[in-house]
């Protein structure tokens, strides 16, 4: 009985203590939503930690970017916006912007000019700035493999990926239609520049799914960007699609014997958005101005192998912070890596995405 009483007292005391701690805050912190894992870490190192050091404003991180669109939609519709800044893919940002869920941005007012005075609107790589979207990085989704599984050399082209006789082993693909359907058409012989025209037709879609049918017995699915290196490392898969930065981290930080196949990498842009009706607009603007300047974008590439979205940042790209590895050769935009790159078409996916996602779900679950 006495024991129980003291237990009850102790827990009551802890309740009071914790509640007190939760209330004690000095400056209004910012909630930033991103992807988690190595990518969030690179943002925290390059943007948030220096920002907190400079201003004393705390940054709360939430790893929910893979549900960013739905999250912003429900917050804006409920009129309770708790996310201050949201990291989104360009395609999601475009849809959210069309639906009126995001703050519109005037780049030259919101963003710092380049060191040489070029206004921000001219400094970002063409076609990346959106009405509601401030790009940070260019990244590639591509195939990578574990060299231990291919002692005689791994796959070199998309066609090799489909060749399970020559390159046996499980393939880990992301459980979404995006990019997988494009690759399937390329593997089926469609020229890269015609992929989206073909995919816009019913026959083209049938063709892509049919090609994927061939590979299906050898596929396992991933849903989070951190999974593919893990699946390769655990031997669950021999080949995986992945974001190039995640594979880079596994290669240099964890010394994993992975190799990237740059053939037909699909590149797209990732960046910041701000939900419409955000409460602390001044705080958000201050952070964005700081975090998207030329030096900060270049700094991010010290931690992860994504290319900065500002032209003025590229000459500043240096060495990997942890290992001293030269970063430029690992950038998706580096000449050799970029030769057969395919640009991910956000407009196509904004139009056909829903229908193809439904068909995808039916196909995956069948």
């Amino acid at each position: 009985m006495r024991l129980l009483k003291s237990l009850a007292l102790a827990s009551a005391a802890s309740v009071v203590a914790i509640a007190g701690a939760a209330i004690a805050q000095d400056k209004q912190p910012l909630t930033i939503v991103s992807w988690g894992g190595a990518y969030s870490m690179s943002q925290q190192k390059a943007y948030s930690e220096p920002y907190t050091a400079k201003t004393g404003i705390k940054i709360l991180n939430e790893d929910k970017s893979n549900e960013a669109l739905a999250g912003v939609r429900s917050q804006v519709e409920a009129g309770q916006v708790t996310w201050d800044i949201v990291d989104m893919l360009q395609s999601d940002a475009q849809r959210a912007c069309e639906e009126g869920l995001l703050q519109k941005i005037n780049p030259d007012e919101w963003l710092a000019p380049a060191p040489d005075g070029t206004p921000a609107s001219q400094d970002f790589i063409e076609g990346t700035l959106g009405e509601c979207f401030i790009p940070q990085i260019l990244y590639a989704t591509l195939f990578a493999y574990d060299t231990r599984d291919f002692p005689n050399g791994g796959p070199q082209t998309i066609a090799d990926i489909w060749d399970v006789q020559k390159f046996p082993g499980t393939r880990a693909l992301e459980n979404i239609p995006q990019k997988n359907l494009e690759w399937a058409l390329i593997a089926d012989g469609v020229p890269a520049e015609e992929v989206y025209t073909v995919l816009a037709t019913e026959e083209g879609q049938d063709r892509a799914f049919k090609k994927l049918d061939e590979l299906k017995p050898n596929i396992i699915w991933w849903t989070q960007g951190a999974q593919p290196p893990q699946l390769l490392a655990d031997g669950e898969a021999a080949i995986a699609t992945a974001y190039n930065g995640r594979i880079f981290s596994a290669q240099v930080d964890e010394k994993q014997p992975f190799k990237i196949m740059w053939d037909r990498q699909m590149f797209e842009v990732d960046g910041w958005t701000i939900p419409a009706g955000v409460k602390n607009e001044a705080g958000v603007k201050d952070y964005i101005f700081f975090a998207t300047d030329t030096q900060r974008l270049a700094d991010q590439s010290k931690y992860i192998a994504y290319a900065p979205a500002r032209k003025s940042s590229i000459p500043l790209v240096g060495k990997h912070e942890a290992t001293g590895e030269e970063m430029l050769p690992h950038m998706p935009t580096q000449e050799d890596n970029f030769k057969t790159a395919v640009r991910f078409d956000t407009d196509f996916w904004a139009t056909y995405g829903d229908a193809l996602e439904e068909r995808w779900n039916a196909w995956v679950n069948s």
Binding site: A70, G71, E98, G100, T351, D354, N365, S366
Partner: protein, 435 residues
């Protein structure tokens, strides 16, 4: 002590001076007729009972029942289309639905697009319509940007701007969906759709997602329930037939998993079943498997079935045990002494007496299984996920459709409540016990 038991004597009107005790109208010390006093005290006791229950009942009503009802109501609401084009909605009802609508509908749409562009509301309706008619986004947004400069006749102007406006299906969809209540999400949740003539038809096989998944959820839950009976019955029997001291000790082996976090148990199965996991290592180590042919036991149906059987097994054992404990061993002895074989005595005497326990365990496990989300999400891969996982996907994924999620939830909930009703009818919720 009920009203009827005491109603006889108190029915005499004349109170006070009666000799015959059997006919005496009883009164309480302060002179009230006993029946009235009793009724009053009964009423007071009933009020007390209700007042004790009321706080929790109200609490659950407000913070559970109402939110669920609100969510269900969202599954038929249709504000995206019904609120956006107010002018088109007003005139499109007069259109007979044949061919293309006339100039006045096009003119109304032009005005709606202009206001929608100004108020930034055109995107939402576009997203909704584009789901059913891929490509609608392109011509709607394109024309909306130029809506302010469009000149009459609008029909010609819009058709010239984009031939997408000549899609008859588009106009029929608008006519149908400008109502504020729509069955569209239930059709979708059951894999039906409107064809180009507006008739309700089954979706093509390569678009059918939800119906197969409902079936798979039910089927896999049945398998899991069956496995828990298979594994739970012998254990419950052993526990019920051992001396109390031993069975209490063994009961700990059942209760410990029951008390252990679901996430802990699921992660334990990941550790055991993955390709570089403990079981595969053991098999390779013992030479039963080559290193290259490790078994795939996780991120598929096997993973879900194994892990969920483990998680739900205590829910089968506990009700079985509580029924078996009450069965006297003398029944079996009697059957045996009358010449029945062990097996026959078990099948004809023991088994029928445990049916209430089997029923309780089966319904409980099945009800819990069909709604599972965490375990399939972590170990199910793609072939081992349940309908809950697609509901979650539709709540938060990139292609999220909250109203479809609400429709799917409602269908699932109706199914679960049906089984819950059955459970209550057959077993009774008040008989639920843990440990």
């Amino acid at each position: 002590m009920t009203d009827t038991a005491m109603s006889g004597p108190a029915s005499f009107a004349d109170a006070g001076r009666v000799r015959d005790p059997s006919a005496a109208p009883l009164t309480t010390a302060d002179g009230l007729p006993l029946k009235a006093a009793l009724r009053r005290s009964q009423r007071r006791l009933r009020l007390q009972a209700v007042l004790l229950v009321l706080p929790l009942l109200l609490f659950i009503f407000v913070t559970f029942a109402i939110p669920i009802a609100m969510m269900m109501s969202r599954s038929v609401q249709n504000p995206e289309v019904s609120e956006f084009p107010p002018e088109t909605a007003a005139v499109i009802d007069d259109w007979d639905g044949e061919g293309l609508p006339g100039e006045e509908v096009f003119a109304a749409m032009a005005r709606d697009l202009a206001t929608g562009q100004e108020n930034n509301t055109v995107g939402r309706v576009t997203a909704r319509i584009n789901r059913e008619i891929p490509g609608a986004r392109g011509f709607m947004l394109g024309t909306a940007r130029e809506a302010a400069t469009l000149q009459p006749p609008y029909k010609e102007a819009m058709l010239a701007a984009n031939k997408g406006w000549g899609n008859e299906r588009y106009w029929r969809l608008l006519k149908r969906e400008t109502r504020s209540i729509t069955p569209a999400y239930y059709l979708l949740a059951l894999d039906y759709e409107y064809d180009s003539n507006g008739a309700i038809v089954k979706r093509p096989a390569n678009y059918q997602v939800y119906q197969p998944l409902f079936l798979r959820t039910a089927w896999m839950s049945l398998v899991i329930t069956g496995l828990t009976i298979l594994l739970g019955y012998p254990v419950a029997y052993l526990l019920a037939s051992l001396p109390l001291r031993t069975s209490n000790l063994l009961m700990i082996l059942v209760l410990l998993p029951f008390w252990t976090s679901l996430l802990v148990r699921t992660s334990a199965w990941i550790v055991l079943l993955q390709q570089q996991g403990v079981i595969n290592d053991l098999l390779v180590f013992s030479g039963l498997l080559g290193d290259g042919s490790r078994l795939r036991m996780i991120y598929n149906q096997t993973g879900t079935i194994v892990a969920m059987t483990h998680v739900l097994l205590p829910f089968m054992i506990l009700p079985l045990y509580s029924v078996m404990k009450t069965i006297s061993p003398s029944y079996m002895r009697a059957a045996r002494s009358l010449g029945a074989s062990n097996f026959r005595a078990f099948v004809t005497v023991y088994l029928p007496m445990t049916i209430p326990g089997i029923a309780a365990g089966t319904l409980l496990v099945f009800i819990l299984a069909v709604g599972y989300y965490i375990t399939p999400a972590l170990v199910g891969g793609d072939s081992g996920i349940f309908i809950s996982n697609l509901i979650a996907e539709n709540m938060r994924g990139t292609g999220a459709q909250v109203r479809l999620a609400a429709a799917l939830s409602t269908l699932l909930l109706v199914g679960v409540l049906l089984f819950y009703w059955l459970f209550n009818k057959i077993v009774g919720v008040d008989r639920l016990k843990f440990g």
